[in-house]
């Protein structure tokens, strides 16, 4: 991964010196050419193609923005409903993520998605406690988080 980034930057600098224009656009062209070369030579370089992982990261960011917009609309609906019919509560979400870094991202994502707010992480780092606006669709919420967020985070970090 890091070897590929270094290679890519070196190719970009080489392109800059070869074309003798020391500006950002020429660096960027060099970077694109380097990425293309790495893509075609990916069979001979150790590790998977690193831009693949960058692409997954961008996908995660877009997922985050989408969920943020949805959650805002959701909470505004709750605020302006004349009759407040929600039933809040705290439920436990067992998680497969291991490192602190992954769990931090997951809790942040949970906090900014519709109807859920992370309250605590257990001492053993494998259960996240979540406060939900509506406790009835408990199982459904767990499955949704497991399917979308955990998978997306795992694709980036592993």
């Amino acid at each position: 991964m890091s070897l590929q980034i270094v290679l890519n930057v070196i190719i970009a600098f080489m392109w800059m010196f070869l074309s003798e224009t020391y500006t950002f656009p020429s660096f960027f062209t060099g970077f694109l050419i380097g990425a293309l070369l790495l893509f075609f030579l990916r069979r001979f370089i150790p590790d998977a193609f690193y831009l693949h992982r960058v692409w997954k990261m961008i996908r995660l960011v877009f997922l985050f923005i989408k969920e943020l917009l949805l959650s805002n609309i959701d909470i505004v609906k709750w605020v302006y409903k004349p009759k407040q019919t929600y039933n809040p509560g705290i439920f436990a979400l067992p998680t497969d993520l291991k490192t602190n870094w992954e769990i931090t991202i997951l809790t942040s994502l949970i906090s900014l998605t519709p109807g859920t707010l992370s309250v605590a992480v257990s001492h053993t780092n494998d259960v996240i406690y979540i406060h939900a606006m509506d406790i009835y669709d408990n199982e459904e919420a767990i499955n949704a988080i497991k399917d979308s967020f955990e998978k997306a985070i795992m694709e980036v970090t592993r």
């Binding site: 943020l68 917009l69 959650s71 805002n72 959701d74 909470i75 505004v76 709750w78 605020v79 302006y80 407040q84 019919t85 929600y86 039933n87 809040p88 509560g89 705290i90 439920f91 436990a92 931090t104 809790t107 942040s108 994502l109 949970i110 906090s111 900014l112 109807g115 707010l117 992370s118 309250v119 605590a120 257990s122 001492h123 259960v127 406690y129 406060h131 606006m133 406790i135």
Partner: protein, 119 residues
């Protein structure tokens, strides 16, 4: 023509941003306990602040030809810190013994159950 369009876009972004912040405030007033209020203040406020800041960014760009990176950084920092501060406030509230509010009966609280079992 295009100037008009950007003006309308800026106006829309600012109005949407203020609307979401206003809703967050009303939510804080209407909801029954700490946790539900945190829902309102973290979620609606992030989109409200993002809207206002993007509106300001476009305005500075259209009026003075300034590309203000600070405003974009501001959005990113709000998005990074809002969920973490909400998490800490919720945790602190739970540790000081605030019970989650429940309709009709006592609310389901698996965190309190597990916490008791550990002791």
């Amino acid at each position: 023509m295009t100037e008009n369009m950007t003006n309308i876009l800026i106006l829309l972004l600012l109005v949407i941003g203020t609307f979401f912040i206003l809703s967050a405030t009303i939510g804080v007033l209407r909801f029954p306990d700490v946790y539900t209020r945190l829902h309102a203040s973290t979620k609606a406020a992030t989109l409200g602040i993002s809207g206002i800041m993007i509106g300001a960014f476009l305005f500075l760009n259209a009026e003075f030809q300034i590309v203000s990176g600070k405003l974009i950084l501001g959005i990113i920092f709000v998005l990074l810190t809002a969920p973490i501060s909400a998490h800490m406030i919720g945790r602190a509230a739970h540790h000081t013994g605030v019970k989650p509010w429940g309709r009709d009966q006592e609310a389901q609280d698996e965190y309190a159950d597990d916490y008791r079992n550990q002791k």
